[in-house]
């Protein structure tokens, strides 16, 4: 083998390893400022002027055009209260008290972060369209089929799903300690 053959091989290998590493390093979401609250996680690093290239690339991949935390806090859930992945074939109860924000919504996405077609054309619930019971709580059923009564967020038959909770202009009490804020509960009721 000639010397330049060896260099050509390691050149190609180096390019491939470098590209793969760049994609892997920036694909884990944001580790800076990561906050965990039950099944919900967020990072207060969205929408800020990134201080290093890795954070900037990770934000661009996970939340391009996202707003800073003062404006909107984006929570993401991939599992239920028991820690099991959210399964589109199962029925869940999503419930809670009105959130400490000017406005809030919960949207259901596939694992890649995109909306999934459903006949009802419902992809989200928000603070203006959920009803409160006499204890001041709201409740939404996440299920592949429409429940007999109550609010419904269609599940994704045959695939897992993720939830994004958006809080617009979160309140001062919330911002003081987001990890302790009371967020919606996600409880599996059956499959």
């Amino acid at each position: 083998m000639k010397s330049w053959h060896r260099y050509a091989m390691t050149l190609v290998g180096g390019l491939a390893v470098g590209l793969g590493a760049a994609w892997a390093i920036t694909g884990r979401g944001l580790s800076d400022g990561q906050i965990v609250n039950g099944p919900w996680t967020t990072s207060l690093g969205y929408g800020t002027k990134a201080t290093d290239p890795v954070t900037r690339a990770a934000v661009a991949r996970a939340g391009l055009l996202a707003l800073p935390a003062k404006e909107t806090v984006y929570w993401s859930a991939k599992s239920d209260a028991a820690g099991a992945p959210l399964d589109g074939n199962c029925r869940y109860s999503l419930s809670g008290a009105p959130l400490d924000a000017r406005w809030w919504s919960v949207t259901l996405y596939d694992a890649a972060g995109y909306l999934v077609a459903n006949d009802a054309k419902i992809w989200s619930v928000n603070g203006a369209n959920v009803a409160l019971d006499d204890k001041g709580q709201w409740r939404v059923a996440i299920a592949p089929d429409r429940p007999a009564s109550g609010a419904w967020l269609p599940g994704t038959k045959g695939q897992v799903f993720h939830l994004t909770l958006r809080m617009y202009n979160p309140g001062g009490g919330f911002r003081a300690d987001p990890a302790k804020a009371v967020l919606p509960r996600i409880v599996k009721e059956g499959c």
């Binding site: 180096g14 390019l15 390893v17 470098g18 760049a22 900037r56 661009a60 055009l65």
Partner: protein
């Protein structure tokens, strides 16, 4: 084996350099894609996008509760003027993202006291109208985004005219 020492060191250097270059390029690449997708109405003009649904998702995690109006811009020929008209009693905001995806400006309807306002986006050194509120940026390209919250998607019918009061255009007059 000694024959491989040089090539392997070379390969490692290539790998590190490639990773650094790719990480630096990712935000610009993704922003270019977003500008192209959102800019089908043209550059330096506001596009009043339809609500997100499974067939229309120009960016990852679009919110179906928001009416997004977007102004992909290019300052290479001069500054941009953005006029925003908040809709009474509604959350709305203007946010401006540069080509590196950094947020360079955010204002919501409460901060604007519900009143219409104009923002000029300009490179350092570009002349802007006297007294205009100006955001300076290091990049020619970017996206200005106006979000308007809907209580229900059906509201877009009655609010569409109101959101079309917001617009953007190249600055042509300095007075």
């Amino acid at each position: 084996m000694r024959n491989w020492l040089g090539p392997v060191v070379f390969g490692l250097i290539v790998a590190v350099a490639t990773a650094c270059a790719a990480i630096a390029a990712i935000p610009y690449g993704l922003m270019n894609v977003a500008i192209d997708r959102l800019g089908q109405g043209g550059i330096n003009r506001m596009a009043y996008g339809n609500l997100a649904n499974p067939d229309r998702q120009p960016v990852v995690r679009p919110s179906p509760d928001l009416a997004y109006s977007s102004c992909p811009y290019d300052l290479s020929a001069g500054p941009l003027a953005i006029d925003v008209a908040p809709v009474p009693g509604r959350y709305s905001s203007l946010s401006i993202f540069d080509a590196a995806t950094d947020v360079i400006f955010v204002r919501n309807d409460l901060e604007a006291a519900g009143k219409p306002y104009r923002i000029i986006v300009a490179r350092e050194g570009q002349a802007v109208p006297a007294g205009a509120e100006t955001v300076r940026t290091d990049h020619d390209r970017g996206i200005a985004l106006v979000r308007l919250l809907l209580k229900d998607p059906s509201e877009i019918g009655q609010l569409d005219a109101a959101r079309r009061q917001s617009s953007c255009a190249m600055v042509t007059k300095l007075k």
